[in-house]
């Protein structure tokens, strides 16, 4: 590929801006809350775009394009079934508990609602999950830079790690959030021309559909059985992805929820996932559609060679259509997406480590300066561990499989704990703890049974969806059953944490476009309409 001086200059200028934002925010990082929660002062348009951007990492840009090429429009299930409904649920029903209880992290909610052991289990498993996930972005970046710039994997990993380390250690969560918004616009402008050019060259939408394999043009039409490109029937999609994995991720993963915690008030916090949902509805146009087009314009795509694997769909399209100049923008967009994904994980990791593990169990009652320092140190350690996990990801054939496997272990059972915790006051502390532990282990056992070949599914994706469903069910059933045999928390201690035990909220007079329920209704109607159009 022809990478020019201009392309390198664009990447260099981007680095200067990213680090400049971190430096400009450094002097505002006085207290630990400034570093970990942005002093709860960020406008909702910024937290909303950061919410979507923290999730706009390698999986979304590389993984969804790869899935678009493999499964066609069925991949939109990850958006219109597997994301939007859960984001709306988080905003309307769960955010009031999260934000109003003034907790600093998701595990802290579990401490208030249940007990210390439940919090500790979740904090440790979440810390492990974030560094495992962060490695995906480093690995993806290294893969792209090896192919396009001929950099070594190690050099690419170290450069990306150094830049993210610098700006998150300087400006904490605010720096991460600000850069995520910048990265959001870069990804949008860097990738939008690709589907437009490719679609025009193919001859338009109808011609593309005629040329694609059968089944690539529908979301639901062929899901009565598992005989479809994804190998999953509608029950698996609705229960595994649409309910467990989706709600587990969007409603309990501190990586995204932390962005809403930085909002300046409850209403802004509720709007955060909703503002994110609007661009998310249309993201398949810049992630999945390029993958479908790539299948037609890059005949070698999907062959067994590394350079033409499905994961390389997006970089291959960039090199096919972008001249020097735009290529630099496209590469910067990909780099931006990987860095935002990595920084999102790292800022969530340093907060959970500092508040939920270090301050709670290792060194309580230290000064605020001490925890601020520990947060910065945790940022550095988190990134170093992420570098190591990047090499772990290399051992997996698909980054999407790796990610879904991790989510099925940690997020799927956790959603059952949260659902019961927030909406059923009878759920008891020890029932929640054992439910969560058993759910997590059920996922691990299920994974082993599939891995060892005792049971198989039509596709790895189907295995992931069903594992999540089982993990959720185990956690849910055990928590419910044990709740009838263990001691409930006094109702006074559950005020503000459980549905039905909250004080009536003070009704704020807002224009219609700022009302969470109206925004939620609009985005849901748009999502339902897209499900029908692409049925």
């Amino acid at each position: 590929m022809n990478i020019g001086v201009l392309d390198y200059s664009i990447i260099g200028i981007y680095f200067v801006f990213v680090l400049g934002i971190g430096y400009a925010l450094k002097k505002q990082m006085v207290h630990s809350e400034d570093f970990f929660l942005s002093g709860r002062s960020i406008p909702s348009w910024i937290t909303g775009l950061a919410f979507i951007s923290a999730n706009l990492g390698a999986i979304e840009v590389m993984g969804m394009a790869a899935n678009g090429a493999e499964y066609g429009i069925m991949t939109t299930h990850f958006y219109w079934v597997g994301a939007i409904p859960a984001m709306v649920f988080l905003a309307v029903f769960m955010m009031p508990f999260y934000y109003s209880s003034r907790i600093r992290s998701v595990p802290e909610y579990l401490k208030l609602r249940f007990n210390e052991p439940t919090r500790a289990f979740n904090a440790v498993s979440f810390a492990v999950m974030t560094v495992l996930m962060s490695g995906i972005n480093m690995y993806a970046m290294a893969l792209v830079f090896k192919l396009l710039l001929n950099w070594s994997m190690t050099a690419s990993i170290l450069v990306s790690a150094a830049v993210v380390l610098a700006y998150t250690i300087l400006g904490g969560l605010t720096s991460s959030i600000y850069n995520e918004v910048l990265q959001f616009f870069l990804v949008l402008f860097g990738l939008l021309p690709l589907p437009l050019i490719a679609l025009a060259n193919i001859g338009g939408w109808d011609t593309m559909m005629q040329k694609l394999p059968p089944g690539f043009g529908h979301m639901w039409a062929q899901t009565a059985t598992a005989n479809n490109p994804m190998g999953v029937d509608w029950i698996g999609i609705v229960s595994g992805l649409g309910f467990v994995l989706s709600f587990g991720y969007w409603c309990t993963d501190f990586l995204v929820i932390q962005r809403a915690f930085a909002a300046k008030n409850l209403n802004a916090a509720q709007r955060t996932p909703l503002i994110a949902a609007f661009p998310k509805v249309f993201f398949p146009a810049i992630t999945i559609l390029p993958g479908m087009l790539a299948l037609l314009v890059i005949p070698e795509l999907g062959s067994n060679t590394t350079n033409y694997s499905y994961n390389m769909t997006m970089p291959l399209l960039l090199s096919k259509y972008y001249p020097t100049g735009m290529l630099g923008i496209g590469l910067t967009a990909m780099m931006a997406s990987f860095m935002s994904g990595m920084a999102g994980n790292i800022t969530a990791f340093n907060t959970v480590w500092t508040y939920d593990i270090y301050q709670s169990y290792i060194a309580p009652n230290k000064s605020d300066d001490h925890y601020l320092w520990i947060g910065r140190a945790a940022t550095a350690i988190g990134i170093i561990v992420s570098v190591l996990t990047a090499y772990l990801v290399m051992g997996f054939p698909s980054i999407m499989d790796y990610m879904q496997m991790i989510f099925s272990f940690f997020n799927a059972p956790l959603f059952a704990t949260f659902l019961l915790g927030m909406f059923w006051k009878r759920a008891t502390p020890w029932a929640a703890f054992w439910g969560l532990v058993c759910g997590t282990f059920a996922a691990i056992i299920h994974w082993y049974i599939t891995y060892a070949g005792y049971h198989s599914y039509p596709s790895v994706m189907a295995g992931n969806f069903w594992r999540s469903t089982y993990a959720w069910l185990v956690c849910f059933v055990i928590t419910v059953v044990l709740s009838f045999f263990t001691k409930q928390k006094p109702l006074e201690e559950l005020k503000g944490l459980v549905w039905g035990l909250t004080d009536p909220a003070i009704v704020e007079v807002l224009p219609w476009y700022k009302k969470p329920k109206i925004l939620a209704a609009i985005v849901l109607v748009a999502t339902i309409a897209l499900n029908i159009v692409f049925w």
Binding site: I13, A24, F189, I197
Partner: protein, 66 residues
């Protein structure tokens, strides 16, 4: 607190200007359907315009609390 629209605006103005200048100096065309475009000039102008709007928003609306 730093108004985020300013760095976003300036970055896009710089990138847009670079693309437009390079597009004129090296007129490479990309086929789009039955016609073709100089992608650097076209998309560079769009990016520059977006950057300009972001910068202007900081002047017209001092409060970015949205």
């Amino acid at each position: 607190m730093l108004d985020l629209r300013l760095p976003i605006g300036w970055l896009f103005i710089i990138f847009g200007t670079m693309l437009v200048i390079f597009g004129y100096a090296n007129p490479v065309v990309t086929p789009v359907g039955e016609s073709s475009i100089n992608l650097n000039i076209t998309w560079g102008s769009v990016m520059g315009l977006f950057g300009l709007i972001m910068c202007l928003l900081t002047k017209t609306n001092k409060d970015s609390t949205g």
